[in-house]
């Protein structure tokens, strides 16, 4: 989108609002969207407010967002129906290093809502599979009710080795998943050999532990990328809420190289 006034959003129609879990829903918006996997948009409802949301699609003729209801804006968005108007500005930020990973392997680790951020990566490799060697994707959810993007799982399995973990796996479920934290699943899995780039998104503790696990397994720190979440308003590096040390999550991130974050200084 080109707009000289960075604060001005564009109206977009809602095509679909799909409830995925009790507090998670997927919005499909009627706009062909150009973005890098891992970037985000500012979505708003006039009179309610604006929120930064990861883009869960890449090179589709629609824009897909996966949203968790946690505040005023996200709850109001959860009530949107097809045909309703929402307002969008973006895309913003630096996405995952898809070019850098070319010719090598990829390890993707995502937990809960964090899967939405790497969903763009999955879309991307679906259309560019020949550019990469092995692709291992680890996705973790709290339990079988919290699984999102279930309708994409078959598509993902075609292009990568998919490992699913559920923190708690109820007896009797025939879910094709390992019980435990995704971090533990990463620890016990033998990762692909050779040049590998890792991409992580999920709760802070999950990213910290899985990042450390990868580094302990011998991955260089500058090959591990994490997608950070912070409070943000402007999305252009001026409101300062999203600063991590001297870097702006909105502009220099949200995807950062592990070693750039300097021990995650507050």
């Amino acid at each position: 989108m080109t707009n000289t006034n960075v604060y001005l959003p564009e109206p977009v129609k809602v095509l679909e609002n799909l409830r995925e879990t009790t507090d998670n829903f997927r919005l499909v918006l009627d706009i062909p969207f150009k973005n890098e996997p891992g970037q985000f948009v500012q979505i708003s409802l006039l009179g309610i407010g604006e929120a930064p949301i990861s883009i869960a699609s890449w090179d589709r003729d629609y824009l897909m967002l996966h949203i968790r209801e946690v505040g005023t804006v996200t709850r109001a968005l959860g009530r949107c129906k097809p045909g309703d108007t929402v307002f969008i500005r973006g895309p913003y930020g630096k996405g995952y290093p898809m070019k850098e990973a070319e010719g090598g392997n990829m390890v993707i680790i995502a937990g809960g809502c964090g899967v939405a951020s790497v969903k763009g990566v999955f879309d991307y490799v679906g259309k560019n599979r020949d550019k990469y060697n092995e692709i291992y994707a680890f996705v973790g959810y709290r339990n079988s009710k919290e699984v999102i993007f279930e309708d994409f799982v078959d598509e993902w399995k075609e292009s990568m080795s998919l490992f699913v973990s559920l923190d708690t796996l109820k007896e009797g479920t025939c879910y094709d998943a390992t019980e435990g934290f995704v971090t533990d699943l990463v620890k016990i899995t033998e990762l692909p050999k050779g040049d590998t780039v890792a991409m992580l998104c999920g709760p802070p503790i999950m990213m910290k532990l899985s990042g450390r696990a990868l580094i302990e397994k011998g991955m260089p720190e500058d090959k591990v990328y994490v997608s950070e979440e912070r409070l943000m308003y402007c999305a252009t590096g001026t409101c300062c809420h999203c600063m991590i040390g001297s870097t702006f999550t909105c502009k220099d991130g949200p995807v950062f190289r592990w070693d750039e974050l300097k021990e995650h200084t507050p």
């Binding site: 912070r230 308003y233 600063m243 991590i244 001297s246």
Partner: protein
């Protein structure tokens, strides 16, 4: 170089006010910049309590109005303005906000307010208050005209094309002279108080915690800071018709706990000491990494306006002395 006789100051301001909106320090409840038509009300005895950033970056601003899905943008229109009697710290502060808001993508509201503005600076021969440490902050020239006081006149330097043009327009009062400014006309004695601006090594120092224990999280430091530019954005609606309203940009403060709050009530900088340290690091280190200069200009307002007088300059100096 020019000379402006003190006896001509009133005529100078009256003439200036005939062509521009002239804003100068006036003592009301405190010294603050406001529009003047003559020199009568101008008070140059101390620096303004409120910095001039509010004229370009007001505390609250409407980004757009909406009615249903229709959006209208009220971009501000500003007529040519001259700020008279701005101290070196505050001139640098404007330049530092320019770096933030005029770089791409530009803030169009700031840019609209900022254009057509000229600055007539005033040299501080004495420190403006006991907390000023401008002498440590490597301030630069950012004036259009610069006034340095002599016995019965001001020595005036033009610092820009706009300043030269202004001097020509006001040639009736600004008379050319061979007299030159000296280094002392840009420096204020007794203000080189901060022992270092390289504070990277002090990140883990326990003084951040002990020094801030009297903090009330009132945000007076960031509110009266001439450079702080953090803000937040939210919507309001009319109570009689909730389909109408506006999106507002409002100052915020990194000293408030909510500043770093994300979903699930997770706070990335919860303790006051971390918020305090963040403010100082942003003012000194973080901003310099991005823009090449410290954001802080050493005016001392964050200390003089702190209700418990948390003096971060002394705190950093203690770390240096350790």
């Amino acid at each position: 170089m020019y000379k402006l006789q003190k006896a001509d100051l009133n005529n100078f301001i009256v003439s200036l006010a005939g062509q521009y909106h002239v804003l100068a320090p006036v003592r009301t409840d405190a010294v603050r910049f406001q529009e003047v038509k003559s020199a009568d009300a101008i008070d140059l005895s101390e620096n303004s309590y409120v910095p001039i950033k509010q004229f370009f970056f007001p505390q609250q601003e409407t980004l757009f109005k909406f009615a249903g899905d229709e959006i209208t943008v009220p971009l501000p229109e500003t007529e040519p303005r001259v700020f008279f009697g701005v101290r070196r710290c505050d001139l640098n502060a404007v330049a530092h906000q320019d770096l933030v808001y005029l770089e791409e993508p530009q803030n169009p509201y700031y840019a609209a307010r900022r254009k057509n503005t000229l600055f007539i600076g005033l040299h501080c021969a004495q420190p403006c208050n006991q907390y000023a440490f401008c002498g440590s902050m490597r301030l630069k020239d950012h004036h259009d005209l610069w006034l340095s006081e002599r016995s019965d006149y001001y020595l005036v330097e033009a610092g820009s094309e706009g300043g030269e043009k202004l001097a020509k327009q006001l040639s009736a009062y600004l008379k050319p002279t061979d007299e030159a400014l000296s280094a002392a006309d840009k420096e204020t004695p007794g203000t080189d108080k901060l022992k270092t601006t390289n504070i990277a090594a002090f990140y883990g120092n326990p003084e951040w915690e002990t020094g801030v224990k009297w903090c009330l999280s009132c945000a007076a430091c960031t509110t009266t800071c001439p450079t702080c530019y953090c803000h937040e954005i939210w919507d309001t609606v009319e109570s009689s018709d909730t389909t109408k309203g506006c999106r507002i940009r409002n100052w915020s403060s990194c000293q408030l706990k909510e500043f770093s709050r994300v979903s699930n009530d997770l706070y990335f900088r919860e303790p006051r000491s971390e918020r305090f340290r963040f403010r100082i690091y942003h003012q000194i280190e973080y901003y310099r990494e991005r823009y090449g200069v410290t954001m802080c200009v050493g005016c001392g307002r964050c200390i003089s306006n702190c209700p418990t007088r948390i003096d971060w300059v002394s705190i950093v100096n203690r770390m240096v002395a350790q």
